[in-house]
């Protein structure tokens, strides 16, 4: 079984977001780039599955759409345990573009399971993985919170309002994964970091898919009013404020 994980690289989630002076871009000077947290969990789960079921999972490949500057993200995935990687040499424009470009490259390659994080922490689009499934005409299972491949049998749960459902699917398929898929991100070992340098990374030029959306301008949210402090000895005032001022209880 071959597993493909789609990776996005995003600013560290603790980054304070600033805009450029013309508000046409997010200022990424000095930003620390990381693997998108959901993609990192997807990759971590794939590596766990391979370690637990070496006879079932043959290979883990990662794919990323980005310029050469984002290659450290792919090498980080190698250090964690991915076997090889693909980079599509283009700057991501929108989810439709990324999904279309990935579909062009992988449609001739036989992956059994394609894993995508449910969203990326920068654009919060929640769209790329499902779009990829549609481009490839494959089934997709969304909001996946657990995945197993023991004995070559796929077992997966998806989250629904107030609980979860066990889902059966034909192969190959795309799983859109969320929190819970892996408990902790896999930590790269020194051996992994050494091995990462020589793992194969293929680079493809983009096929020229048209983006359907573009950002016209960015803005920062309005600053919040200062917090009203209430004395711990006078909690009645809090109820009064919630009732009479905020009108929420």
């Amino acid at each position: 079984m071959k597993i493909l994980i789609c990776l996005s690289n995003v600013p560290d989630t603790t980054t304070k977001i600033r805009l450029t002076a013309d508000q046409q871009a997010v200022d990424v000077a000095g930003v620390q780039w990381i693997i998108n947290p959901w993609d990192e969990l997807a990759l971590s789960r794939a590596i766990e599955l391979k370690e637990k079921n070496p006879a079932v999972v043959e290979k883990i490949t990662v794919i990323h759409v980005g310029s050469k500057e984002s290659e450290p993200t792919i090498r980080k995935a190698f250090a964690m345990g991915a076997d090889d990687g693909i980079r599509i040499n283009a700057v991501a424009k929108d989810a439709y573009f990324v999904a279309g470009e990935i579909a062009e490259v992988i449609k001739s390659q036989a992956y059994d399971i394609i894993l995508c994080g449910i969203e990326s922490s920068d654009t919060n689009g929640c769209a790329m993985g499902t779009m990829l499934a549609e481009f490839l005409d494959l089934p997709s299972v969304s909001s996946v919170s657990s995945l197993d491949v023991e004995g070559g049998n796929i077992s997966l749960n998806r989250e629904v309002d107030g609980g979860y459902e066990k889902i059966q699917t034909s192969l190959p398929f795309v799983a859109i994964v969320q929190k819970g898929i892996a408990l902790e991100p896999k930590i790269a070992t020194v051996r992994g970091i050494m091995a990462a340098r020589t793992k194969p990374l293929q680079v493809f030029e983009p096929a020229g898919i048209d983006a359907l959306t573009e950002v016209a301008a960015y803005e920062l949210p309005e600053a919040k009013a200062k917090c009203k402090m209430i004395d711990a000895e006078n909690i009645g005032q809090l109820i009064d404020l919630l009732h009479n001022e905020a009108k929420v209880i």
Binding site: A133, L183, K228, M229, I235
Partner: protein, 323 residues
């Protein structure tokens, strides 16, 4: 030309969310001088379908196929795309929830229609079509232009209110042609709690962090949520330590919520946590550390020990309710 809105039902009933979506679709229809068609998939009685008219839908298309009583992404996308073509929809509206995220991107590819997910307002203009959404989990906003002839929007929860606009909705049944290929996935087992208010639906959310000291101290959180008719939630370390189930985790990598009031007890307010709750209308924070970052985002703050403030608050709420 029309604005097509997909309205989800839960056991045959629509929720406030469904009516907010119709209200939003009606807002767009007014901007574009056209009408709203609502699409329902599932087993919904005519009387319930008619309610779509209260918010401005002039037509409701009802698809009732037993194979669609469970969410099957491909089949739903096929049905919705077909109805969109039939109704010559130029804008499609979905909720930015589990179903919307699972289906709208497929419809986007099928119709080659640009998608803006998690929109927070009506389009600021329709020619060009520009709509605003949160990015970086609310740390910034982007005004996004959709360039394709057909546009798709998923609307962020609680970002648009209800707007009544009575119209006599005509109900039309529609039977789509579907093939086995559309049903490659199926539900083999369902585990859902019933009777509890869902976190993402709740108007009031009561949440605890590590400052609660341990799972054995959670009873007052549940009691306060019960008193206020709200849901309970927790911070990420609380879920990671197994004090509370993962589905209660709110924050950047957990659930993103936008209730009327969010109570944060013993939560310091890491930036990732705030990302999940910053769209709440009112945030109330109780923390013993006066420098906790949560106070920078809160509307009302109390510096104090949750072990004494929370029971006091419960007693006073009981008195207030009794009045």
């Amino acid at each position: 030309m029309s604005v097509l809105v997909y309205i989800e039902n839960w056991d045959g009933k629509f929720k406030k969310l469904s009516f907010e979506l119709i209200s939003y679709a009606q807002g767009i229809a007014r901007q574009m001088n056209t009408s709203v068609v609502a699409l329902s998939i599932g087993n919904v009685a005519e009387e319930e379908l008619k309610k779509a008219g209260n918010y401005g839908a002039s037509k409701v298309i009802a698809v009732n196929d037993s194979r669609l009583h469970q969410l099957v992404n491909q089949a739903y996308a096929a049905v919705i795309s077909r109805v969109a073509e039939k109704e010559e929809a130029t804008v499609l509206v979905f909720a930015h929830n589990i179903t919307g995220k699972a289906v709208a991107p497929r419809v986007s590819v099928r119709l080659k229609a640009g998608l803006v997910s998690g929109a927070v307002a009506l389009p600021s203009s329709t020619e060009p079509f520009v709509v605003k959404k949160n990015i970086y989990t609310g740390k910034a906003l982007a005004a996004v232009t959709i360039k394709s002839p057909v546009k798709i929007i998923t609307l962020a929860q609680n970002s648009y209110g209800l707007a009544e606009n009575p119209a006599d909705a005509r109900i039309e049944n529609f039977t789509p042609e579907l093939t086995d290929h559309d049903f490659a996935t199926s539900v083999i087992e369902s585990n859902k709690q019933t009777g509890k208010i869902l976190l993402t639906d709740a108007e009031i959310v009561v949440s605890g962090g590590l400052g609660m000291k341990g799972p054995e101290f959670w009873a007052p959180i549940e009691e306060l949520a019960g008193l206020l008719g709200g849901a309970t939630a927790c911070s990420r370390p609380v879920a990671d330590q197994g004090w509370r189930p993962h589905y209660e985790h709110v924050g950047q990598t957990g659930k993103i919520i936008a209730p009327n009031v969010y109570f944060a007890f013993g939560i310091s307010g890491a930036i990732q946590h705030l990302g999940g709750v910053s769209s709440s209308k009112i945030i109330v924070a109780v923390n013993k550390d006066k420098d906790a970052p949560i106070f920078e985002s809160a509307n009302y703050g109390v510096v104090g020990d949750v072990a004494t403030v929370l029971p006091e608050l419960i007693n006073l709420i009981k008195e207030y309710k009794a009045q």
